[in-house]
Amino acid sequence: MRTNRIIERVLDHGVAPLLLVPSVILLFVILLGPFLYMVWTGFTDLHYALPNRDGAFVGFANFRRLMQDDPIFWHSFWLTMKFVFGVVLVEFMFGLGLALLLFHYIKQHRFILTLLLVPMMLAPIAVGLIWKLLLSGDFGMFTYYLRYFGLADQQTSILGNPSLVMPAIMLIDVWQWTPFVTLVILAGLLSLPKEPFEAAIMDGARPLQIFRDVTLPLLRPIIALVLLLRGIDAFKEFDKVFILTGGGPGISTEMLSIYTYRINFRDWDLGYGAVCAFMVYLVVLIMCSVFYKAVYWNEGRSKTVGKAAS
Amino acid sequence: MAVSYNQISKVFGDGTVALDNLNLEFEKGEFIVLLGPSGSGKTTACRILAGLEEATGGSVTVDDLEVTSLPPRERNMGMVFQNYALYGHKTVYENIAYPLRIRKIDNGNIDSRVRAIAKVLQIESYLDRRPSQLSGGQAQRVAVARALVWNPEICLMDEPLSNLDALLRLETRTELKRLHGDLGQTFVFVTHDQEEAMTLGTRIAVLNGGKLAQFDTPRRVYHEPATRFVAEFIGRPAMNVLDGEVAGGVFRSGTFELPVTGQPNGPVALGVRPEQILLQEAPTDQTVSFDLDVLELVEPDALMFVKKDNTSLVVRVMHDTTGLDRSSQIHLEFPEHTRHFFEISDGRRRS
C-alpha cells in the first residue's frame, strides 16, 4: 500500500523527467558522445594507414591544413554549394509549378500525388542505381534516346564526362526531390484561407497579380521551409553520387560528403578526416538554426504553418 | 462548512494574477455559479477546486479536510468540460464507464450504473456510438453522465453550455436544474452568461479581476448588487449608472437632475435598471424629460435609448410605443425603491 502511494506520487509529479530524460540520455550517449570524440580526434594525427600516427595531440595543425593547404576540400565545398543552390532552385521552380497545376486543375489530387511520391520514397542508393542503369554508356535506355535524337554523340558516356556528369547528377536529384517540393507547397496552398483571394478578385486583380500579391506572400513561410529543408538535405548528398560515380571522373563529382568519406575510409587519415566531418557538421548546424528560427521561432512555439492535402 | 476557499491566490508563470485572495464558502447540495467576464478568474477558481491547477497561495478545504495539494482523483469530484473532452477512441458507453473502470468497480456494477445514469440523461440509445457521431447536445449529456456516474460529491462544470446553439442551451439549462434537484449533489458551474447564472444558481459568486465581488442568491445579486460592477454586469440591458454629485438633496449629472433623499452631499453614482424606469404619458413633478434617440422593438418590450444633452439612458418598457419617433419627448419616472447608489471611488454600494 505504501509503495503504491509512492508510485502514484511519482506518476503524478515526476512524469516529465521520467519520460524525457531517457531519450536525452540516449542521444547524448550515442550521438553527442561520438561527436565530442570526433572533435577531439580533429586535434590529433590519428591515421590508420601510416605508421607512428597513433593519435598524438597536434593542436590546430589539421585545421591549418584545411584552411591553407587543401585545395581539394575547397573544390568539394564549392562544388557542393553549386549543387545545393542549383538543385534547390530548379526543384523549387518545378515543384511550385506542378503544385499550382495540381491545385488549379485537378480536383482529386490523391492518386496523382501518390504516384508522384514514388521517387522521393525510394532509397537514395536505389535511385542512384536506377540512373546508373539508364545512363550506362553501352545499353542505357536514356543514353540510347539521347543519341537517337542527336543530343549526344556515339562515344559520349554521360557519367564518364567531367562536364556532363555534374548536371546529370543534379537532374537526378531534381527527379527525386521535386515531388517533395510539390507535396509541401500543395499542402500549403490547400491550407490558405479563401478570403484574401476573394478580396483580391473583388479588388479587380488579375490572376498573375493575385499570384504575385496574395499567393506568394501567404506561402512565404512554407516556401522558406521547403527551401531550407531541401538545402540541408542536398548539402548532405552522398548515396547517389557514391554509387553513380564515387566522386569521379577525377574529382569532378567529389562533393563534401564523398571527400570526407575518402579521407576517412579510403586514406584512413582520421585526424584530418574528423576536421572535414566537423566542417560539414558546422554548415548543416548553421542551416539548421536558420531553419529553426525562420520556421518555428516567428511562428510561435510548435505552431504549424499550414494544414493540408488529402 | 462544506467547501471553502481560504485566501486562495493564483499567479501564473507569466505574472498574470488570476485570483487574488479569494474567500468563498458554500454548503453541500448547493448549485453554485461562478460568474464573471473573461479574465475574472472564475475558471481558475473551478480548476483549483478540481485540482487541475495548483493555487499559489491559500488553501481549499472540503468537509474540513484540506485538499489543496491532492491530485484530482483523490478529491471525489467530477467535471464537465466546455468542449466535453470525450475520449474519441471509446464508445459512449465506455466513456461513461471509464471513471468506474479506473476505480476498479466490477463489471456488473459498472453496467447497471452506466445504464442508470444514461437513463436519467436520456442517452440510452446512443451508448454504442462514438463521440464523433454525436451532436453537440448529445456529447454534452455524455460528458455530464461521465462526470456523475460514480456519484462524486461535487460536480464541476466549466461553461458546459457555451458550445451549444441557443435553443439547445435553454433546454439543457432547464435539464441541469432538474438534474440537480433530482440528485442533490453539489454543482459548481462556471459561466460568463448572467442569464444562466440567474436561472441555475442557488447562489452566485460574481468574480471580477480575480476578486470576489459578491456572493449571494440570484435575487439579491439582482436587487442589491454589492458593487457597481455587479450592478452593470447583471441584467440586460445593463443598468444605467450615472456619475454625478448630490448637493442639497438633488442628484446632478450634467443637466440631469433628480431629487433624492437620505444621501449626503458629495460625488456619487446613481444606478437605475432600464426595466424599472417608468414611462409617463405627461410630465409630473416626479418625471424628468428626455429626447428619444433610438427606439428598438424587442417584442413584447421596447428599448428606448433616450438623451438629455450629454446624459444617455436605456429604458425598457412594455408600453405600446406606436406614435413615438425620434423627435418625441419622453417623460421618465425613477421610483425611489429602484435607485442604487455606488461610491465613485471604489464602486461599493451605499447602504
Binding site: L11, V15, A16, L19, L20, S23, V24, L26, L27, I30, P34, F35, L101, Y105, I106, I112, T114, L115, P119, M121, L122, A123, I125, A126, L129, I130, K132, L134, F139, W175, V184, A187, I232, F235, K236, F238, I243, L270, A277, V280, Y281, V284, C288, S289, F291, V295, R301, S302, T304, V305, G306, K307, A308, A309, S310 | M79, F81, N83, A85, L86
Partner: protein, 266 residues
Amino acid sequence: MAMVATLIAILILFLTPYLWIVMTSFKTRLDILSDAPLWFFTPTSENYPTIFIDKNYLPLVWNSMIVASFSTILSLAFGTPAAYVFARYDFPGKEDLFFFFLTTRMAPPISIVVPMFLLFSVLGLTDKPIAVILAHTTFNVSLVVWMMRGFFADIPREIDEAAMMDGHTRGGTFLRVLLPLAAPGLAATAVLCFILSWNEFLYAFILVAFEGRTLTVGIPGLVTPHGTLWGQVAAVAVVATLPIIFFTFLVQKHLVRGLTFGAVKG
C-alpha cells in the same frame, strides 16, 4: 481536360525510370544488353531466385527488416514519452532542448559515422546489427519527438484533465488515454521511421561490412565496372523499394507532417 492529359503524360514520363528498373528485373541478360531499349519482351523470373537464393542475398532482406524494426521500436519507445513532455509541460530550456533534437535529426551522417565507427570498433559492435540499429535510432528518435509532439498537441488538454478527474495519475493519463488517442499518428510515425531506416545507406555501409549487411549496403557491391548483372541488380532494387512504396501509400496522409518536422500538417 487537356491539362489533365498533359499532367498524366508528364507523370508517366516521370515514372519511367522506376518502371524501367522493374522491367529490367524481369529481363534476360540478352534482352538487357540489346542495342535498342526493349519495351516488349518475354518476362523471366530467373533473376529473383538467382540473386536471393543462389547468391544468398536473402539474409540481407532479413537484416534490413531487423534493423528497421528494432530502430523503429527503440525510437518510438524513447521518443514518444519525450514528445508528450514537450507537448504538455513547460520547463526552462525546453525550446533549446527541442532544437537539440532537431540537430540530431539533421546531422550529416558522414560527420557522425566516423567517430561512431571508431567508438563501436572499440566496443566490438561493428558488423553487428545493433550498431546500425543504434545509429538509425539517433535520427529516428528525433523524428518521433518532432512528429508526436504535434500529434499530442492536437489532442485538447481537457482530455488529460478529464482523465485525471476520472481518476488517473498523470502517468496513467499518458499511457491509458493519450497513447490510444494518438495511435493513428503513432502508426504513421512508426511507418515513416521504418522507411527511413530501411532506406538508409551510409551508416549501415560503414558500420556493417559482412554478416550484418542490409539490403542497401548490398547494392553497390553488385555494380562492377564491367559485367554488372543488371537483371539481378534490378531484382535487388525492386525488393528494396516495392515494400516502401506500399508503405508510402499507407502513411500518405501524414507524410507531409513527417517530412517537414511537423511544420506543415498533413
